[in-house]
Amino acid sequence: MSFFRHGVRPRSGRAEKERGASSQVVRFENVFMRYDGGPVILRDVSFELEPGSFHFLTGGSGAGKSTLLRLMYLGARPVSGNIRLFDRDISGIRRAERPAMRRRVGVVFQDFRLIPHLSALDNVALPLRIAGTREALIREHVPELLAWVGLSGHLDALPATLSGGQQQRIAIARAVIGRPNLLLADEPTGNVDDRIAIRLLYLFEELNKMGTTVLIATHNESLVKRFDHPRLHLEGARLSRVQMPSAAAPARPGNAAARPA
């Protein structure tokens, strides 16, 4: 996966990671969340994601997984409580600072959110272009990553001409291409078969090995069981840690073997 090794990342987050080894990538303190006039979706939620950690986020449909992720990529504000992202209280982040903050977070949206009139290649290239990466590097790495997710034959395809699973893989490629410090993937394997799902999980693990903190919201129990990572579970608007085999440790190479949860 040379698209990671060669350091496509326009602004290396490595220094920050080493410097802030003791700090949290994400930290929720007594967070309450509800949409205007709606029911409470998160009640008194507190947790943290250590740098380099890999978590699954589970919970029934409508439990609030997407909402929790949305709070982390600054797509919504909590009703009350504190959220810290990269050691900054998000309530203190000015509008002008948000883009730089968001560039450190890669998001696979549940509904993909691809730009409809951009080709697969241009969609994936977006984060790099926003960051001002040289076009030569983009031309080199984006096709490589797209090939890895099995889309080498569709570089110039518009999203609408691709299947749901293919669109999803474009969304994943776009989220990881910039080697973010934090990867939030919302049901990233919902539209692909198990074989591709496993391949995509390996991609996330590869990214995780390079230091990215990963959080994957999923319904896919067999996938959660197959990969040995701690799980956060949402139910009744409350969040709990289901299992914590090796707290805060990044997924070690080779521990991706199936292990009962």
């Binding site: 990529y73 797509g75 959110r113 951009l118 977006l126 272009r129």
Partner: protein, 305 residues
């Protein structure tokens, strides 16, 4: 391809009217500019020709026709010329031949009357550039040398012409200002519409870390390009119009002789300044549209939560 088209604004119907509209606006602005510059050109031309000159008018003696009065007139003229020759500030004084002044009046008075009427003697005076002329004392001494002699420095006539030309130029500026305002409003409208149409893409761009200026860049490039196309078309049409006007005007003068309006148009000299104006206008339209698009996007986006 990239960088110009990432929001696919080119396919956005909300900006489709911009090139046509800007062509019309630049066309109007160009004609206004050429009109204003031409008016200014006339005035400075007259100014240059007349500023260094005076006309001295020596009234005829009353009883006409006889040799005595003719001699008296000549004597008065010579006295004036002698006086002018020694007056500091005067480079040259030349009596206008009687035949010439008669020819000037003939169209109005008819040949008969011109021949019998006593005409004033005119002296064309060119002023020296190195030395100022004391008009008061000259007028006084002229009165002594030849009573009734008047001194006309064309000031009143020139002032009238200048006022007229200035109002033409101001009108031109007002037209250009209005046209610029219309262009700004059109761009603001187009950009606002485009922001609405692309609301979802813009939200995604924001979520993946695009700063407002990245989004603004898409709009300003696209708008600038459309404005440049429209501006060049408008400018070319304006040039064609001016050339056509001149051509028809020259044509009619040849056939029908001097006619006020046609002469005026025929004398439009499409000079360097006009060319500069006509080239500058599409550039200005492009710059104004680009800056307006940028400001408009930045302000609209800053209002988002």
């Amino acid at each position: 391809m990239w960088g110009r088209n990432d929001l696919a604004l080119a396919r956005d119907p909300s900006t489709r009217f911009l090139p046509g509209l800007l062509a019309v606006l630049v066309y109007l602005a160009a004609l206004a500019a050429v009109g204003g510059l031409t008016a200014q050109g006339f005035v400075s031309d007259w100014d240059r020709r007349l500023a260094g000159s005076l006309t001295i008018q020596i009234p005829p003696t009353l009883n006409t026709g006889d040799d005595a009065s003719r001699a008296a007139s000549a004597e008065r003229r010579d006295a004036v010329l002698r006086l002018l020759k020694v007056t500091p500030g005067i480079a040259d004084a030349r009596p206008i031949p009687e035949a010439d002044s008669a020819a000037l009046l003939e169209p109005w008075l008819g040949p008969e009357l011109v021949r019998t009427l006593p005409l004033p003697l005119l002296v064309d005076v060119r002023l020296a550039q190195s030395q100022p002329l004391d008009r008061e004392s000259l007028a006084e001494r002229l009165e002594n040398a030849a009573p009734g002699t008047t001194l006309d420095d064309h000031a009143r006539w020139l002032a009238d012409a200048q006022a007229l030309a200035r109002s033409v130029a101001v009108t031109g500026l007002v037209v250009i200002a209005l046209v610029s305002m219309a262009a700004v409003l059109a761009v603001v409208f187009a950009v606002r519409t485009g922001l609405g149409v692309h609301r979802n893409e813009i939200e995604v761009l924001h979520l993946i870390g695009a700063p407002d200026r990245f989004i603004a860049r898409q709009f300003q490039r696209h708008t600038g390009r459309l404005a440049a196309v429209g501006g060049v078309i408008g400018s070319i049409l304006a040039i064609i119009t001016v050339i056509a006007l001149r051509w028809t005007a020259t044509d009619t003068t040849a056939v029908t002789g001097p006619a006020g309006f046609a002469t005026l148009i025929a004398s439009i000299d499409f000079g360097l300044r006009d060319w500069l104006a006509v080239i500058a206008l599409p550039v200005a339209a492009t710059v104004i549209s680009t800056l307006t698009a940028r400001a408009s996007v930045m302000l609209s986006l800053a209002r988002l939560p």
